[in-house]
Symmetry: C2
């Protein structure tokens, strides 16, 4: 994960790519992005919900939130990381994690167009729960006004991933030690309705769709 050097790079199970489909697949599979911005010279990293828009990533926050106020015209980035496993090697040096990570770099733009603002908020809800938009009540004018939307215009994007077993030094293979991968599994559990949900009302289809996303 941290780019530890390997003495034999030919055996390196890591992979970097700028392939758009690979990047989009990671962005679509993640639920939370870590958004980077600079405030008073310091690196800020904030977990945020997001959605992919045309040539951009949509983010939202309270209209008065610092990130929303700072973002217009500012350099922004977002990293989405999916952790797939712990890689247990025969030396500390070769311990690692299996993961898929996408990084997007660009510039923030405060969304002021009403149609784009609505599309972004809808997309962010749909990213959490596909199809949810059609299951709930419409947004009010007051809610629109209270929510700031930032488009992170994508100027560069890349993905990095590691998969597969540990890459031990061949001399260590005969040590008689256990080495391998411990998968990290993420799934959606049984949904818990709140106290205002009518008794016996079935889970809406959006939850089943969200659940399917984690099955791979």
């Amino acid at each position: 994960m941290t780019d530890q050097p390997r003495f034999n790079r030919a055996r390196n199970p890591k992979h970097a790519t700028q392939d758009a489909a690979a990047i989009d697949a990671i962005l679509d599979a993640g639920l939370v992005g870590h958004v980077g911005f600079v405030a008073e010279g310091r690196p800020m990293v904030m977990p945020m919900a997001y959605a992919r828009g045309p040539g951009c990533i949509w983010l939202h926050g309270a209209s008065k939130a610092r990130i929303v106020k700072l973002a217009d015209g500012a350099a922004l980035s977002m990293t989405v990381t999916l952790l797939d496993g712990i890689v247990a090697a025969r030396s500390g040096f070769h311990h690692s994690v299996n993961y898929r990570s996408a990084v997007v770099h660009g510039t923030g733009r405060l969304v002021t167009d009403a149609a784009e603002h609505d599309a972004a908020l809808q997309a962010i809800t749909e990213h959490l729960l596909p199809g949810r938009h059609a299951e709930i009540r419409a947004m009010t004018a007051q809610e629109r006004k209270a929510t700031g939307v930032i488009a992170l215009t994508v100027e560069a994007a890349s993905a990095k991933m590691r998969s597969g077993p540990p890459v031990d030094d061949p001399a260590d293979h005969g040590l008689g030690l256990w080495a391998g991968v411990v998968p990290v599994v993420t799934a959606l559990g049984r949904a818990i309705p709140d106290s205002h949900t009518p008794a016996g009302l079935a889970e809406p289809p959006s939850i089943a769709r969200a659940r399917a996303r984690f099955a791979r």
Copy 2:
């Protein structure tokens, strides 16, 4: 998650704290941190393995990696986010996620002391798999030299979290809609030994210890 405003703050299920025990609990439960730094004026966010040290967070990378070269004396931050659930409300506006997130701000220091360097690398392996250090072969001089360690000296830290059901507008409670929480569950799956592991060798105790961390 994105600090959407709520019209009735008294019902806000979000919580921010600077309590050290709460922050440490999140750092101990996470496996990957998102490390922020500024490079050529741009906000960089990198997923990295880490461990808690005395008054610092230890990070490691290849000695020649950009983050290792830039970190000494630089402003750094690290955010660790644990996603606990998707919060499905009766309006798009009140959709949210349940999460626990810790943020650490400070300054990078390249670790040159041999004892601290060793302690940091051991702690990072132990953070992935508690007890693993005693199960594997010792580090070599060549490996030590190839691995750079950065201490992020903690100058400020805080945690934010959200838990519990959606907070809908009371007027929406009677809409007859399903609303509630879909838990996001993360666990370790069945460990997969590599082809050099002796047949029938049991999983080492470190894996059981790592597994226990996810049971809550």
